[in-house]
Subunit: 168 residues, 2 copies
DNA sequence: TCAAACTTTCAATTTATTTTGAAAATCCGA
DNA sequence: TCGGATTTTCAAAATAAATTGAAAGTTTGA
């Protein structure tokens, strides 16, 4: 397979993967493009390679920066901004886990906490099942949250070692 | 908080969580509704509770059945179909992991395999970075895939015990 | 076999999301 | 401070995804 062909295929693939995970296609494609680029790229280069508008390119690069997946690379003597992606996929994955945990799991736990304070006077079968389910969900999500939290802090502590054994 | 209010809040919350994970809002809401219902529900009841059309209800129930999260519950003497959801959230989570792994990770690994067979004659910096990155990604994804695979098979083997220790 | 009960399909519509592109804002050297 | 280079914003347009609802299909009891 030729380089250009493979590159396109990868950008495509990464893009549609993103789509399945609630990440917009273009953002994932910009990420893919930066991942495989040995040098940092300007907005123009991104526009050119992906055939997207300036506004779109700008927006998605900004968002990738918010996610902590991409950084600005200011070159001396250049007024333009260049961008590069964290190349260590493991680190990038941890970064994504960390962000999603913060953005989604934490609020959900919060909501579950509120909801659980259900009127105890209501003892219908429905209300009982509901309360039970809330406890159950909170428990499982809480545990998942705990693992992800540990995992995302795990760059150099015991859990990493433990996980690595599982991964061997 | 009153039961009806809490119920609504939960259905809402579960729905918007789904949205962030590439699952359509209604499907997640139907799932939420069935999760907290102590009895199985008919299509009519689902339409009524969520204020959605018959077609929509049918489609999303079908999809939940495909995901292995919901089953038909045929009541003797009733011609209608009723539906109930797996109530053990841990099992449901495993089911989701299993499905997504099959639907997304496996195809991605496949694509990466193809892409890696890159024309070795091309020794530009770009091509080298690309090949390196493909190897890196395949490695991380392969490991994640391995963990998820083990996890989803883990109902009663060693990994479950090991994970449980991490979770304590 | 018929017909009512029920489920599924799918083209048309509605709703939500993404993208564009040009104007406004910002930045920076002289 | 000015003016060109660059980035950011955002209303409008384009695209994508979800939803409806009625027609078609299926199942079942008599």
């Amino acid at each position: 397979m030729k380089h250009e062909e493979a590159k396109l295929k990868f950008i495509q693939g990464w893009g549609s993967l993103g789509t399945n995970w609630g990440i917009n296609r273009t953002m994932a494609q910009v990420h893919a493009l930066l991942l495989i680029s040995p040098t940092s790229l300007s907005t123009e280069q991104i526009m050119e390679e992906l055939q997207i508008s300036r506004g779109n390119a700008n927006m998605n690069v900004r968002e990738l920066i918010n996610w902590g997946l991409v950084r600005k690379d200011l070159k001396p003597g250049e007024r333009k901004e260049f961008f590069y992606a964290e190349k260590d996929i493991w680190k990038a994955a941890m970064q994504i886990i960390k962000e999603r945990r913060k953005r989604e799991l934490e609020p959900l736990m919060q909501v579950l906490g509120e909801i659980k304070s259900l009127d105890k006077a209501d003892d219908s079968a429905e209300a009982k099942e509901f309360t039970k389910m809330m406890g159950n969900i909170e428990d499982v999500i809480g545990k998942a949250d705990g693992v992800l939290d540990k995992l995302s802090r795990a760059q150099d502590n015991w859990l990493m070692g433990t996980m690595m054994k599982l991964l061997k």
